[in-house]
């Protein structure tokens, strides 16, 4: 009897793993179709005209900063050089206790100015708003520490334009990414939020918002993450976006309709997964109000970020992501399998619950039960080997698919040597890297309550090529 139960449980585990991988592969084919169509569309869209047109929707870029002294000045400089006619950059210092504030004020020559603003979303006290003569589109907001979400909300309150983009202080935008992002708001007024691809910059040279020389990072951990990002962004998010059921737009880079976000109450403060939580809440609010809306993910407005290069940093990041995910999913559990929320409730929510939230627990269960079943003789060894190879093959195919999508989108960037190395790492990531991230996610799941409000610091380095000093005052 025990043997039969064990065999049954094993079969369920095997079925789960194979179906999850098959689902990922199905996502690849949806994303592949979309990218082929998108390539055609991009060729005819007149980005050049709109980037310099006064008729384009103006946009506020909000950059929350907490202890970012090493990279913040360089990143603000890059933001001030974007190809866009009318935009403002609002840097919100969330009570940093390093020299972030001093560095920004001295570098950009900003002075405190009395300014009235309407507090659409309640936040911690704003202690000062700074402007400068040299960089008129730059606004520096100093406020009492309240967390990233609070800083973003303060930025929303101070923003002047109908669309805002939030960008992490350690990311760099590609020059034309803003125009590509906002074109979607122009093309479809029902657009509520748009996300863009985040690419790992480790090993590449970036100058003035352009990728000068793509290259491989020295850290193997970073290469594994590059391949992982291809899959997460180009396969996962694009396919869900095609069905208007995207549940996450990365906090590192996304643009939003300000009115809709204010209607929803802004970013939720007591969570570390504020980016996902906001998107889920936007879906919920729009569906409840029965409003037409689109939450989209675009394949080529991109920003560059740094991937953690040490296991300790990766652990903190993945644990944080998992906790943020669990928080958002449990807060909005009423959406799960609820037809009222359309595909977001009927497809994305179950997908995130089963494939993201519960997967570390199910995997752990599998790792325990399969050896037990084998030693008690309830599992056939050839079955076991077959299952292992199938999982490995499906996983590797999916990763190779991600690399392919990246090549189709950014068609002149990589050389053959790089591609061969990516292919190798796509295969190798099944032996160690996946298990490592599984452990970190498991830790996040099991210690959810303890780390619920802890961000953890990740060491930042300067980008490979500094930004040119030739930036000119407006």
């Amino acid at each position: 009897m025990v043997k039969v139960i064990l065999a049954g449980v094993c079969n369920v585990c095997i079925f789960y793993t194979v179906s999850v991988n098959l689902f990922y592969n199905l996502q690849f084919f949806i994303a592949f179709g979309f990218i082929l169509k998108y390539r055609k569309k991009v060729r005819v869209t007149d980005f050049e005209r709109f980037s310099s047109s006064k008729n384009m929707i103006p946009i506020s870029i909000i950059v929350p900063a907490y202890n970012e002294e090493s990279t913040i000045v360089e990143n603000i400089k890059s933001l001030l050089q974007l190809d866009y006619f009318k935009y403002e950059v609002i840097v919100v210092n969330d009570g940093s206790n390093d020299s972030t504030k001093a560095r920004i004020l001295s570098e950009f020559d900003l002075k405190k100015k009395e300014q009235s603003f309407y507090q659409s979303i309640p936040t911690e006290a704003v202690t000062g708003v700074y402007h400068g003569e040299r960089f008129k589109s730059l606004v520096f907001v100093d406020k009492v520490n309240g967390g990233k979400a609070d800083a973003l909300n303060a930025g929303i309150n101070l923003s002047r334009y109908p669309i805002f983009a939030c960008i992490d202080a350690d990311t760099i935008l590609k020059n034309d990414s803003l125009i590509r992002l906002t074109m979607l708001f122009l093309e479809n007024p029902d657009t509520v939020a748009v996300g863009g691809v985040v690419r790992i910059a480790n090993g590449s040279q970036i100058k003035n918002g352009e990728l000068i020389k793509p290259g491989l990072p020295k850290s193997k951990l970073a290469i594994f993450q590059i391949i992982e990002y291809f899959n997460a962004f180009l396969t996962g998010r694009i396919s869900l976006s095609c069905m208007n059921s995207l549940l996450i737009i990365s906090g590192a880079f996304g643009a939003f309709n300000k009115k809709c976000v204010i209607e929803c109450g802004g970013y939720k403060k007591d969570t570390i997964g504020e980016d996902m939580e906001l998107i889920v809440r936007l879906h919920k609010t729009m569906r409840v109000k029965k409003r037409k809306y689109r939450i989209q993910f675009l394949a080529n407005p991109i920003c560059f970020t740094q991937a953690p290069e040490t296991v300790a940093d990766l652990r903190k990041q993945r644990r944080r992501w998992q906790i943020g995910l669990i928080d958002s999913l449990t807060t909005h559990k009423s959406m799960l399998l609820n037809p009222k929320y359309g595909l977001a409730g009927m497809l994305s929510m179950p997908y995130f619950w089963l494939c993201e939230f519960l997967s570390p627990l199910i995997e752990l269960f599998g790792y325990i039960i399969i050896p037990i079943s084998y030693f008690t003789g309830s599992l056939n060894i050839s079955h076991c080997i077959f299952f292992f190879f199938m999982t490995f093959l499906l996983g590797s195919t999916m990763s190779l698919g991600g690399i392919l999508l990246d090549q189709l989108l950014f068609d002149n960037e990589r050389n053959l040597k790089e591609i061969l190395i990516y292919i190798l790492f796509a295969v190798l990531q099944n032996f160690g890297y996946r298990q490592l991230t599984f452990l970190f996610r498991l830790e996040g799941t099991l210690r959810f309550k303890k780390f619920k409000n802890s961000w953890g610091n990740i060491k930042r380095k300067k980008f490979a090529a500094g930004f040119a000093d030739k930036i000119q005052a407006e």
Binding site: K40, K41, R43, V44, T45, D46, E48, R49, F50, S53, N55, M56, I57, S116, F117, Y118, F185, L186, E187, N188, P189, D190, S382, F386, F389, M390, L393, L394, S396, T397, L400, G401, I403, L404, Q407, L408, D411, N412, R414, N415, L416, I419, L420, Y422, I423
Partner: protein
């Protein structure tokens, strides 16, 4: 047995994906090289004086459709000044390479993006290939397609055709009004006549779009005419147009708008007064700075600050 077959299929699929990656990479490198080459050729073709060299370039482009498309993509990115430098040579180049034929084929293609690309090319290069009435009536509601079609008509400067298309597409295509304003502002014919005709025939929405796009001294009458419209957007567009023209004589007219029932109108007037304000009317604006609506209040305060700064002793 079934398991082995499945296993082999999966291994095959993995190998296929690896192969595909390598193939796409090689293909991408080739495309990059070709793009660079066609880029150089494009610049040479518009300036080359040696007939033998020029013909060789034409022959090279003519041989493959992909090269023609690449050349078209590159020409689209050229500055307008470079394109108008030698129009005869450009025309000859398009004719000889077979690009004109290709555009004509694309104009009637079933693929929306091909059609859009053809219209984009026509608009950018200002080609004398104005879409005829029949051609413009059967266009699917695809943003790129409609946008480039309208832009090509706007560049041709045909008032009646443009107005006709505006009526068909502006209200039916669900796109931000800014896209239409951009198209109207590119109209190369007499803009005052266009505005006049749109005021005669258009709906309030159409009128709003044209007023937003056309800010001309000679069109002042139309702004005044619609200043008391019941349509809020139209009224706001008129206030903005009048304020943009920045004639101090209009100050009284706009100050009246500070007492409007709609807060949007009051906020627009308070903001627009920045261009018209004289210290004489400071009191009226001061009242607005105690308005119940936060946006009116904010705009009034901002205008007051600007006016005070301009009239401060330092400025004097």
């Amino acid at each position: 047995m079934g398991e082995y077959i499945l296993f082999l299929v999966m291994v095959g699929l993995l190998a296929f994906f690896a192969f595909l990656n390598i193939l796409v990479c090689i293909q991408n490198r080739r495309k990059t090289k070709l793009r660079d080459r066609v880029g150089k050729i494009a610049a040479e073709m518009l300036s080359e004086e040696n007939q033998v060299v020029w013909r060789a370039r034409v022959k090279y482009i003519k041989r493959r459709r992909y090269r023609k498309i690449l050349l078209m993509q590159i020409l689209i990115l050229f500055h307008e000044e470079d394109l108008v430098e030698n129009p005869a040579l450009l025309d000859e180049c398009l004719k000889q390479t077979g690009i004109l034929k290709l555009i004509n084929r694309y104009r009637f293609s079933k693929d929306n993006y091909h059609r859009a690309f053809a219209y984009r090319f026509i608009a950018k290069l200002n080609l004398k290939m104005i879409p005829d009435f029949k051609e413009t009536q059967k266009v699917p509601f695809n943003f790129e397609l409609v946008y480039h079609l309208l832009l090509s008509v706007a560049h041709s400067g045909q008032t009646e055709l443009f107005l006709n298309l505006a009526e068909i597409y502006f209200e039916r295509l669900r796109v931000s009004y800014r896209a239409f304003v951009e198209i109207i502002s590119e109209f190369s014919g007499p803009k005052d006549l266009l505005l006049q005709r749109s005021m005669e025939t258009g709906s309030d929405y159409i009128k709003t779009l044209f007023i937003k796009a056309i800010r001309l001294e000679s069109c002042r009458t139309y702004y005044y005419q619609n200043l008391n419209s019941e349509n809020l957007n139209l009224k706001i567009a008129c206030i903005r147009a009048i304020c943009d023209l920045a004639d101090k004589k209009d100050e009284v007219l706009i100050l009246k708008m500070l007492k409007d029932n709609s807060w949007q109108v009051r906020a627009t007037a308070a903001k627009g007064l920045k261009n018209l304000m004289t210290p004489v009317s400071l009191d009226l604006l001061n009242n607005s700075s105690q308005d119940n609506n936060v946006w009116v209040l904010q705009n009034a305060n901002s205008t007051l600050a600007a006016v005070m700064a301009c009239n401060s002793p330092i400025h004097v």
